[in-house]
C-alpha cells in the first residue's frame, strides 16, 4: 500500500465521520492522522464508534470482529486508517488466493 492509499483511506474515514456521525466540518478539517478519535480528539463515545464501524464496513466491504473493537483501534484516525488498509490487503490476498485455488 502506498502513501496515497493511506491518504485516500483517511479522507474517506473523515468523510464518514461527517456524513454518518455529523462530526462538524471544523473538527474534521483540523484533524490529522494523529488526532485521537475518542476523548480529547474527535470525541466519539462507544455508541458512536459502533456506528462508525458499521459505516466503515459498508464503505470498504470489510468485516471488523468484536475482538478488534478495542481502544487501540480508535486511538487515532491513523490507527483506524492503518487497520482498514490492513483489512483491505488481507481481503485482497484472500481474493487472489481464491482465484489461484480456483485455477488449479
Amino acid at each position: 500500500m502506498t502513501h496515497d492509499d493511506h491518504l485516500q483511506i483517511e479522507k474517506r474515514i473523515k468523510q464518514l465521520l461527517g456524513s454518518e456521525l455529523n462530526v462538524s466540518a471544523s473538527v474534521i478539517a483540523t484533524s490529522t492522522f494523529s488526532t485521537p478519535l475518542l476523548g480529547r480528539g474527535v470525541g466519539l463515545d462507544s455508541i458512536e464508534t459502533m456506528a462508525l464501524v458499521l459505516s466503515i464496513e459498508d464503505e470498504f466491504g470489510i468485516s471488523v470482529p468484536d475482538t478488534d473493537m478495542t481502544v487501540t483501534l480508535f486511538e487515532t484516525i491513523g490507527t483506524l486508517t492503518d487497520y482498514v488498509l490492513h483489512k483491505l490487503s488481507e481481503s485482497k490476498d484472500g481474493t487472489e488466493k481464491c482465484e489461484r485455488d480456483s485455477q488449479l
Binding site: 476523548g39 470525541g43 459502533m50
Partner: protein, 490 residues
Amino acid sequence: MLVTVARQNSTRVAIVEGETTITYAELEKQIFALSAQLYHRGVRQGDRVAVFLPNGLDFITSYFAIVGLGAIVVPLNDQYQQTELLHFLSESRVSMVVATQPSAAVCRQVLLSYDSPCLLLFVEDREKTTKSGSGDVFIAGIDPDTPVMYQFSSGSTGRPKRIARTHRNLVFELNSLVRTLGLTHEDRFLGVTPFAHVNGLMRSMMASLRAGATLYPVPKFERQTIAEMIQEQRISVFIGVPFMFGVMAKTNYGRRLDFSSLRLCISASAPMPPKLNRQFYEKFGIYVRQLYGSTETGTISVNLSTEIERSLDSVGKPIAEVEVQVYGENGQQAQVDEVGEIAVKSPAAIRSYEGSEEPARESFRDGYFFTGDLGRRDQDGLLYLVGRKKFLINKGGYKINPLEIEALLETHPKVEEAVVVGLPTSFGDEKVKAVVVLSGPCTEKDIIEHCRGRVADFKIPSLIEFREALPKTATGKIRRSFFAPSTQSQ
C-alpha cells in the same frame, strides 16, 4: 422473592457467565455468603448501598444480598465519572459502595470528597461460601412498602429526582411481566442491557430470576459475541434497546445465523424505528416488540399484537392492572387518535419523588403519574408515542438532562451561554448537540476536553455549534424548539 424462587428451582441453572454455571441453590448460597459479609461490615436494615458494577454474577449477588438485609440498593451506571458518582452517593446518603478493583482509584477519589462515612467493598474480595450458608442475617418479614431500591429520574426540570421503589412495587411488576410475557423456567435470557438501568434490571435480570429461568449476563454489547451467544446458547428472550437491534440488523455477519430459539425480542428505552425493525426481521425472522415504561412506573405497556406488521411503531397495550389515560391540552381525556400527555396508574408506580415536593405536585395527580410523554391511542387501544413534553435527550437508551450539560458547559471560562439539544439518529435515539455562545476564543476540542471526566462519555456533546447569540422568548427563556424537534422517550 429470590429465596422462594431458588428453592423451587434449586437444581436449575440460574446464571451462565462465561465458563461459570450457577444453579439457583448455588446462587442462593453465594447471596447468603455476601449478605453475611456485608452484615459483618456493618450494613443494616435501611442503609443505602451503591452497586457500581457491570452486568454479571457479582452485580446479581450484590443486589440480592443487600435486599436480603433490608437495606436499599442504589444501582449506579459503571460509566459514571467522579462528579456524577459523588452526586448520586450524596443524594442517596450511601454508606457502602460495592465496586470492582479496576474502579478503585475513582471510588477512592470520590470518597475523599464525600461528607459521610462510607465503606468500599470490592467484589474481588467477596465471600462466595459461608460456613452457615443459611442466610441467618436476612431480615424476615420486611415491610413491603419500604424502599428496596433508589433510582434517579433524568430530571427534566432540574436535578435528577430520587425514585424509591418498594418491595411491593417490584413484586407487582415482576409478576405482571412473567404473566404478560409468558415467561417460564425454560427461558434463557440475554442480560446485555445495563442492570443499573431500569430496563436491564427489571426486564432482564429480575424477570429472568423471577421466572426461574437462566440468565446469561454480558457486561458489554459486542455484536458478534451476542449473535453467537443467541445461536449457541439457544437464547429465547432478548431484552435490548433499539441501538442493539439496529446494529445487529445492519451487520453483515457473513453467514446465516440460526436465531430460531428467540421467541421474544423486546426493545425499550427509546423508539425502535420500523425500518430497522423490518431489517431485523428480514435477517433473523423475528420482529422486535416495543415496550414502554419509566423508572417511576415500571413497565406500562408492551406490543404483543398478533398483527405486528401493522403496528411496528406502537408500544402496545397496558399490561395487566396498569391503567393508561391520554389527556388532551384541555385536561380532558383525549379521543381516539388525539395526541395528549400519557398518565399512568399502576401498583408498580411510586407515589411521589423522595425529598422533592414541587415536581411531585406536577407529576403525581389523582393517583396518576404524568409521564411527560405525548401519545395517542388508536381504535384498537394500541398506544403510540409521538414525542416528549419534557425535553430529555435519549442517547442509546440513556436519558440525558440537557440542563446538566448546559450547566457544565457554562462553567467553562470562555462560555457565556449554552443550550443542549438532541438530534435524531438512524437508530431511533439522539445525539447530543451543544449550541454555544462564547465570551472569548475557544475551540470545539476545548469544550469537549472541558466535559471529559466530569460527566459520563455518553453525555458529552458530539456536535458543537458556535453562535453569536441564542434565540429567546420575550421572557428571556431559550427557544429550545428552534434547535431540535421534540423527542420521545420510553
